[in-house]
Amino acid sequence: MFAHNNEEIDYLRLAITNSLLIQKNTGIKNITVVTDPHSLKHNEKTLGKRFIKKAINNLIVVEKDKKFKNSNIRLYKDTSHSSKYLPFYNVNRCDAYDISPYDETILIDADYLILSDTLNHCWGHNNELMMNWKYQDIMYERKDPSLDRLYDMGITMYWATVVYFRKTEYVESFFNIVKHVRNNPQYYKDLYKWQGTLYRNDYSFSIAAHMMSGFADKGISQLPTTLYKSFDTDDIHKVIDNQTIIMYLEKPRAPGDFILTKWQGLDLHIMNKWAINRFTEEFLNA
């Protein structure tokens, strides 16, 4: 996981919470988190060094690229009622291949909560690189076509939320292309026509997937698990245990109005980071 805090969102706290969920639900103990001195110092103060060590056995501290931090700004929402523009620091995710000390790695977002052991299906897989282009919203009738492609006529968008990889020549080349996209965003933006000015790893991983498949669409195999996601307009109502949460889901045709759902035994990408931060105590005690 990569976890760099901004002024409002404590990504490292999310990663620590998720690390404990990973340990409980998958039995995986080798967890690496890449963070920065500021995020670490803040969490050492709030959670304690010992607690962090208990959750993460390999903590890598790197300096932030301040220029990138100040230029990559995105809109974060805490339901439809509150939103804020904040720095989105995601520039070093493409270094995962070089940073990972393992032969096999599952790279995940800090806000992809591991509520099951389904990712264990990946270990020892024949496919050396897997990630999802298919996703499912947790409210089944909600659809957002803008998440399907880089732009309306563009290539299929892969989600860099969960990526399984083995250390092989092919995967190394894949990550080299991801890095090339990161280093030359304007060139690739013109070529692949992604919308907006924000740099997202979903874009660079999708472009690398397209190129490494011989410029064919959907050429990289998907993970043996479905990617379930919520929107940042949703919220958490309650944490029941380490596999079960009750979520508020915003109705598609009534913004600001919610229905409840019980989510159990499936990993979930929670886009509303504030919601997870509000419930970290409950997750840590679950």
Partner: protein, 119 residues
Amino acid sequence: MSTRLTKALEFANYRTTLNNQQAQLKAKTQSLLSYSINGGTFTIDIPLITFCKQLLDQNQKETVLLDVYNNPIKIDIKDFYNEIESRYFEVTNDYYVEFEKLRKARKVHKVLDLNEKGE
């Protein structure tokens, strides 16, 4: 708002919650019916179980099956069959129990296993 309309809206909320909960349960079941072995991933279903049983009855020991990625995976039929058969029954029985519980729930809080205060 009239009582009739309030009731109708409550029922609509209940149906939406119930539909979503049923879909979640189905998704969880499908995920549990996925089985990975020897670098491949299989979806456990009735045709796979039946096919393996047939091979077992023909006294075959090993075979190559195509997994969900259409990759050829060599398996030991007896061990594979025992594993997928027991998993199938375990998962579908749990699905049945949960599904029946949902079917009988007539209020949103019961669908979600909460008390009336939502706790």
